[in-house]
């Protein structure tokens, strides 16, 4: 498969689409980033819709967890470490109260951004007398290293506030709904690198939806696009692997073993969406001494206003589920920008809103009064 992106585009343009609309969902912020920044949408025939789906773990991280992390930083004598794109995600707190980890830091909380679980361990070792809480959101690719760190041995003073999620159950939820909203799936390359491409077999086998694993280059993404289009048109569906140089059968056995050893899979809440069965990671009992959920009191008061919800007016949840495009949210680009984000999809590097904004789309197509011409 030595075709260039141009070659794949040429092949796609020769397909007999003839006015047949085909909606292809991706479930990876990295994919959406490449698609948007490389301008792939505008290069494709008009019949093809590329829909960003659930590809941003920070965007679906429970509001309660972020609130809890903020309260730990403010009320407990801890160092709170987390990936940088979590710092500015707002929670639903009244005006004047601390609404993000960034604000918690400004208010005196010891909040430090990190880029790797290794840094969390190092900060814990450098501060042996201080409890360090690693607030870890992420999909399989990001949670596997956290599991590896746990398996290797966590410093005594390091605990985990884990908000890890599995990608495929969100896609399964969409496919089990009456109107999934897409006709084909481009499956995430790095998740498949870790977990194995086979995880996505159910899309084809149980739902007869074409699927192809893609990498992050325009060439790989267009190869996957071509594959699913051809499958769709010919009615011959299979799980294709358009990232074979990195994605191998069975995935990464060490990563999977670490996940299996340190974590169990549990029903989990996705912000603005609700509980998705078997979609979350939780620490196993053997690691209870490092589970921040049991080590610290839950600071979420049961009657906290708008607890767990997306911010008022924010369409992030529908954007995450591929039911609306980012610019169909009425806040997009006016009240909600990367500088003053309202919803998490405008904060995270993997959020579709932020990616579209970075790609030059800056204006909402929704009317302030009537809302968006929704995809759904």
């Amino acid at each position: 498969m030595n075709h260039s992106a141009q070659d794949w585009l040429g092949l796609i343009r020769q397909l007999p689409l003839a006015g047949r609309r085909v909606r292809i969902m991706n479930v990876c912020g990295g994919h959406e980033r490449s698609i948007t920044l490389a301008g792939i949408r505008s290069a494709l025939p008009a019949e093809i819709e590329l829909i960003p789906g659930p590809g941003c773990p920070v965007c679906v991280c429970p509001e309660e967890d972020i609130y809890q992390a903020i309260q730990l930083a403010l009320r407990e004598p801890v160092i709170l470490v987390t990936y940088g794109d979590m710092l500015r995600v707002p929670v639903n707190a009244p005006k004047g109260e601390v609404r993000s980890l960034e604000q918690a830091r400004a208010a005196g909380g010891e909040v430090r951004p990190i880029a790797s679980p290794l840094e969390a361990a190092q900060i814990a070792r450098d501060n042996p007398a201080t409890p360090v809480v690693f607030f870890a959101a992420g999909f399989e690719t990001t949670i596997a290293p956290t599991a590896a760190l746990a398996v290797q041995g966590l410093p005594e003073n390091l605990s985990l506030l884990l908000s890890g999620r599995l990608t495929w159950p969100a896609v399964a939820m969409l496919l089990n709904a009456e109107a999934p909203g897409f006709d084909a799936l481009v499956a995430p390359g790095h998740v498949a690198t870790v977990m194995g491409p086979e995880e996505w077999g159910f899309v084809v086998e149980e739902h007869a939806i074409p699927a192809a694993v893609a990498g992050f280059s325009p060439g790989s993404l267009l190869a996957a696009t071509y594959s699913v289009l051809r499958q769709h048109l010919e009615g011959r569906r299979f799980l294709d692997n358009c990232y074979p140089e990195v994605v191998r059968p069975g995935g990464n056995p060490d990563a999977r073993a670490a996940l299996e050893q340190a974590m169990r899979v549990t029903d989990a809440n996705w912000r603005g969406i609700g509980i998705i069965p078997q979609s979350g990671f939780a620490l196993r009992e053997a690691y209870a001494a490092h589970d921040a959920r049991t080590l610290f009191p839950d600071h979420n008061a049961a009657d906290r206003r708008r607890m767990g919800e997306m911010p008022p007016g924010c369409d992030c949840a529908r954007v995450v589920l591929g039911k609306r495009y980012p610019n169909q949210c009425r806040l997009f680009g006016n009240r909600c920008t990367p500088r003053n984000p309202i919803g998490p999809c405008m904060v995270s590097d993997e959020g579709a809103c932020r990616i579209w904004w970075a790609g030059g789309m800056r204006e909402s197509v929704a009317s302030e009064r009537t809302g968006a011409p929704a995809r759904e």
Binding site: R33, S34, L37, A38, Y83, A115, S116, P117, L118, E119, G138, T141, T142, A144, P145, A148, V151, Q152, H190, T193, V194, F216, S217, E245, V246, R248, N252, P253, D254, A255, A258, P338, R339, W357, A358, G359
Partner: protein, 81 residues
């Protein structure tokens, strides 16, 4: 990234002049050597790849960084702008 030094499960890796400490803990199933190329995610190598594949990945990241730098400029315009 390319592996420069290995000490147990830890390696020093380099890509385009940037050096990082990288854990090889999740590559125990594969032999890794100095000079090998790996895909790194949050400080952990998750897969070994060929030099050509690493090269192609760098080109993408360069494009992304350029696009992002442009966005950051707009986010925080210089004082004289």
């Amino acid at each position: 990234m390319q592996i420069q030094e290995i000490d147990g499960f830890m390696a020093k890796c380099e890509a385009k002049g940037v050096e990082r400490d990288v854990s090889l803990f999740m590559l125990q199933h594969e032999p890794v050597d100095l000079g090998d190329f790996v895909v790194v995610h949050v400080g952990y190598a998750i897969q070994k790849i060929t030099q050509a594949e690493a090269q192609s990945a760098w080109e993408i990241y360069d494009e992304m960084l350029a696009a992002e730098a442009e966005m950051e400029m707009e986010l925080a315009p210089p004082d004289h702008a």
